[in-house]
Symmetry: C2
Subunit: 239 residues, 2 copies
């Protein structure tokens, strides 16, 4: 076992893996809180909360850095193979998805600050509903990941279609709203970008679901995702 | 040196690293082509080209998978340290950024298909100009990365502010355009999402610039980026 550059290799590989697992669990919890806070900030027009969410994004980034460093260290010093290698890679990937999720949540919070300077707009209700759905999916998929529950992961994956359907209908709702009252165009564009942030969070939750399946079964889900992203075509359907 | 699971360890570490470098160079070239094609498809309303760009995104994904697999293999089997470890990690990160860049280019191409079904809109000219700037920055940063030119990388990084300024002015231009003629709202929202794609490509080019600096000098750029993203606040400035 190489020890170059590290004087503290006294832990077993399983202990190291457990530490990595715990770091990811903590990162998942933080990310859930960030998403929850971002949606609450939108719903209640709470600029203080939105600012807190923006500032706390760095905590999730720090978690990811820790996971990345530990992963590289484990790969380089322990040279894991088979199941162990899969567990390390899955953690690295899941951490990347969580970081992106938190980033989208922080972006949504940032835009809510702008929206709070304008009169409320009706489609916000649908946006918050979509946010709550994605929040529930994230909770489910984290649970599936941390308990190695492949069935539950597949269930989350199959529900991403609901998110996409909500996104499509929300996109049309916002467009209609802007067309009927052009004074709402600026607010409408921000709502659209937030909706896109939330839709992307759903995609990252799906990534984690697929990673969970791979982690537990050793097989990649090579069939197509149950859905294709058609969001860019909403405008066309609209015409 | 462990050889478990691999019967072909005859190459030297330097040869392996060279292979990884070449794979990244090829991935960089493909990604540049994808971005160039996406911008041309927008400018010339060329739906055939846009479709080709969307379909070819998988080639960039394949490159990233190859780089990822090779990186994990190198880390696990060769346990590199110091400069070698840095080179492997830098390649992994740069490949991730290139994959995201190609993804944004494919998204832009997808939206151009929708725009081609609508009458042309004036702000497209500014969008294409912004696209060309980002295209130039990507070419520069790839050159800096592949030739290990830290100075050139810093120069690219400092120019990301130009992209953000163009994005801000474009965002205002599109908003004004939509407000003056609400029939352009649908096209305008697609332009905004494409502008966001291009702005994000600029961010990823900046990431590669920072990674290049780290690769060459061993030091991280820990000062703040020359700019902060204020795009979400454009709407507020607009009010």
């Amino acid at each position: 076992m190489p020890t170059i550059g590290d004087q503290h290799i006294v832990r077993s590989f399983d202990e190291e893996l457990k530490r990595l697992h715990d770091a990811l669990a903590r990162m998942g919890g933080l990310t859930e809180q960030q998403l929850k806070g971002a949606i609450e900030a939108l719903e209640h027009r709470d600029s203080d909360l939105a600012t807190r969410i923006m500032n706390d994004d760095v905590r999730v980034d720090d978690c990811e850095s820790f996971v990345n460093e530990q992963t590289v260290r484990l790969l380089a010093l322990r040279a894991p193979v088979a199941d162990d290698l899969r567990a390390v890679i899955a953690t690295l990937k899941a951490a990347g998805d969580l970081e992106r999720i938190a980033d989208h949540a922080a972006n949504a919070a940032k835009r809510s600050l702008v929206l709070n300077q304008m009169p409320p707009v009706a489609p916000m209700r649908s946006l918050v509903r979509m946010g709550r759905l994605v929040q529930a999916l994230l909770a489910e998929v984290l649970d599936a990941y941390l308990t190695h529950d492949a069935e539950k992961a597949l269930a989350v994956r199959s529900r991403d279609q609901e998110v996409d359907d909500l996104y499509s209908s929300l996109f049309r709702e916002i467009l209609t709203y802007m067309m009927e009252d052009p004074r709402t165009i600026t607010a409408g564009t921000h709502l659209m970008f937030i909706a896109k942030n939330i839709e992307r969070i759903g995609d990252h939750a799906t990534n984690i679901a697929e990673m969970t399946y791979f982690l537990v079964t050793g097989r990649k889900l090579n069939d197509q995702r149950p859905k294709r992203d058609t969001s860019a075509l909403e405008g066309a359907e609209q015409e």
